[in-house]
């Protein structure tokens, strides 16, 4: 069985939607719409995120993101960035849904302007409310296993714990917790925020995560298109490694070949014939 068959037989299912890419693609801060489009193609992603903002009344040109991706068969995952309460997030979610592009929503409720860390209480309230309103809710959350369980109970379609604060590129600050969350959850776990490079993405996948959401490390890379492809490979590699089952860690060395038959095997340990046992 080749790589393509392996991946095809292992879809990521969120709220009944089968995805063949485990890469959720953030669209912010790209140097140009053209680079964004090429990077999106290179990523293989089927889910793209974006934000809801006021239009610029000074301009009459269509400067929205959608015109650049309209022809692509992707799922739209708007976020609620800018919200600092559940009420604000719910309002943004409803506005996003009214655009007629589906009912997926990434709940993102910042509780602090410096770290942009998610407010756990408000995130839980918003997740519950939006799930009740029929949204497919993917909350961005802190890496707390108990909170993640509560979010799942509140109706989250997937759980999105952060590796580290948004845009920092610090990678996975608490792999132990992320591993626990991946292990306990009955819905997909997407590691969102703080991923710095494909290495972090592969590490997260090897911990048992079901997918990766990344934006800044691709958009702000020197070559976003190459980096998008690198992430795709890393995520696939990490997923296959997880399925393949890694070896346990040991304290001391263990040789790759059996000692027996070594050219330098000591004579004392030689054949029975030499010892006259035949």
């Amino acid at each position: 069985m080749g790589l393509n068959e392996w991946l095809k037989g292992d879809p990521l299912t969120i709220a009944g939607h089968k995805l063949h890419s485990r890469f959720l693609f953030g669209t912010g801060r790209f140097p140009s719409p053209a680079v964004l489009q090429q990077a999106l193609d290179a990523s293989g992603s089927e889910v793209i995120t974006f934000a809801v903002r006021r239009v610029n009344l000074e301009s009459t040109m269509d400067d929205s993101l959608l015109q650049h991706v309209e022809d692509k068969p992707v799922i739209y995952l708007p976020n609620t960035s800018g919200a600092s309460t559940a009420e604000e997030a719910v309002r943004i979610a409803r506005l996003a849904r009214a655009a007629g592009l589906g009912s997926w929503i990434k709940v993102e409720i910042s509780g602090d302007p410096r770290t942009l860390l998610p407010d756990p209480i408000e995130t839980l309230h918003a997740t519950k409310q939006l799930a009740e309103e029929g949204f497919i809710v993917l909350p961005y959350t802190s890496d707390d296993p108990i909170l993640c369980r509560r979010l799942e109970e509140a109706g989250a379609a997937a759980i999105m714990p952060g590796g580290s604060p948004i845009g920092t590129g610090l990678g996975l600050l608490n792999p132990y917790n992320l591993g626990l969350i991946a292990e306990q959850s009955n819905v997909p776990v997407i590691i969102d925020a703080g991923i710095g490079s494909p290495k972090d993405a592969a590490e997260a996948m090897e911990l048992g995560a079901d997918g990766i959401l990344a934006n800044t490390p691709i958009a702000k890379a020197q070559d976003p298109v190459r980096m998008a492809h690198a992430f795709r490979l890393a995520i696939e590699a990490g997923r296959l490694a997880w399925l393949a089952g890694r070896i346990p860690k040991k304290r001391y060395a263990s040789a790759s070949s059996d000692w027996a038959g070594s050219l330098y095997e000591p004579a004392a340990a030689g054949s029975a014939r030499n010892r006259g046992e035949m």
């Binding site: 790209f30 995120t49 974006f50 934000a51 903002r53 006021r54 239009v55 506005l95 996003a96």
Partner: protein, 293 residues
């Protein structure tokens, strides 16, 4: 929106005498702004859109009034706005002001007319319909109608209420200006009674931001007079003549964008834009999608 504003100015140009095509009348009251100069405060009213200025100084000497009049003459010329002086017809001539404003106890209109000639503006305060009709008969160019509400500018004078405003609107054909205790928070009642011109003293010059108070007055005057709505779009105050959401989106030049519209906190589906009526005070949000993670 610029087109609409132009139309509005054209329709105001039909008033009787040059200089009376104003909507907002500002009057000095130095005691209301201690620590700030008369010229600075009055310049703020002009920046805010006041269309006529009156110097009113009941306590100063003639010399002092003359000095202030000279300074305000320069200022009002700079903004191309007519300048009137309360009571001192002689100073009007001396500094070439556009006219005088008289009280019921000041010199008769006929005498002022003789002094000032036909071209200059003569206005007079009135407190009942009888005085208003007398002023009209005697050749006043406009009358003040008030005090509509109780005011500290003229303590002890009983308020005439908006019923006198309504009477003036019905029976007086020369321009009339409602005055007395009017502020942006109560001006709507005065406009509803039929006033088209508003004068305010303390609520403008006693404010920390006279220009913004003037803009607030003008938004409401336009709204009442011309069906202009004062609405908030994406957090900004806008004047709009749009009747529906659909018209607003076109008026703002946003019809080519993939928008979601929220009106007073409720989403309006695109199919309903054409039939969703826009009222004054509406809070509208126009949002779309931008890149994000």
């Amino acid at each position: 929106m610029n087109e609409s504003r132009k139309g509005l100015q054209l329709s105001m140009a039909m008033s009787k005498k040059a200089g009376l095509d104003f909507q907002l009348y500002a009057i000095t009251a130095e005691s209301n702004h201690p620590g700030r100069s008369l010229v600075d405060v009055m310049e703020q009213t002009l920046i805010g859109g006041a269309g006529i200025v009156q110097l009113r100084n009941k306590t100063g000497t003639r010399e002092e009034v003359l000095e202030q009049a000279k300074a305000l003459r320069i200022l009002t010329r700079k903004y191309n706005v007519p300048f009137l002086i309360n009571d001192y017809a002689d100073i009007v001539l001396e500094i070439d002001a556009e006219g005088v404003h008289l009280g019921q106890e000041d010199m008769p209109i006929a005498e002022a007319r003789r002094l000032l000639g036909q071209e200059r503006i003569i206005g007079i305060s009135t407190h009942n319909l009888q005085q208003a009709k007398a002023a009209e008969r005697d050749g006043a160019d406009y009358i003040g109608v008030g005090p509509v509400f109780p005011t500290n500018t003229k303590p002890g004078r009983p308020a005439v209420t908006t019923s006198y405003v309504a009477e003036a609107a019905r029976h007086i054909s020369i321009p009339f200006v409602a005055i007395g205790g009017i502020s942006p928070s109560n001006v709507n009642a005065v406009l509803a009674a039929g006033a088209k011109r508003i004068c305010a003293v303390s609520s403008i010059v006693g404010s920390d931001d006279p220009a913004e108070v003037c803009r607030s007055f003008l938004r409401q005057i336009n709204s009442a007079a011309f069906g202009y709505k004062s609405i908030t779009v994406n957090g900004q105050q806008e004047q709009s003549s749009a009747r529906t959401i659909d018209e607003l989106v076109v008026e703002l030049g946003q019809q080519n964008k993939k928008l979601v519209v929220e009106l007073n906190g409720q989403i309006v589906q695109r199919a309903l834009w054409a039939e969703t009526v826009l009222h004054s005070g509406a809070i509208v949000e126009l949002v779309h999608f931008v890149g994000g993670g």
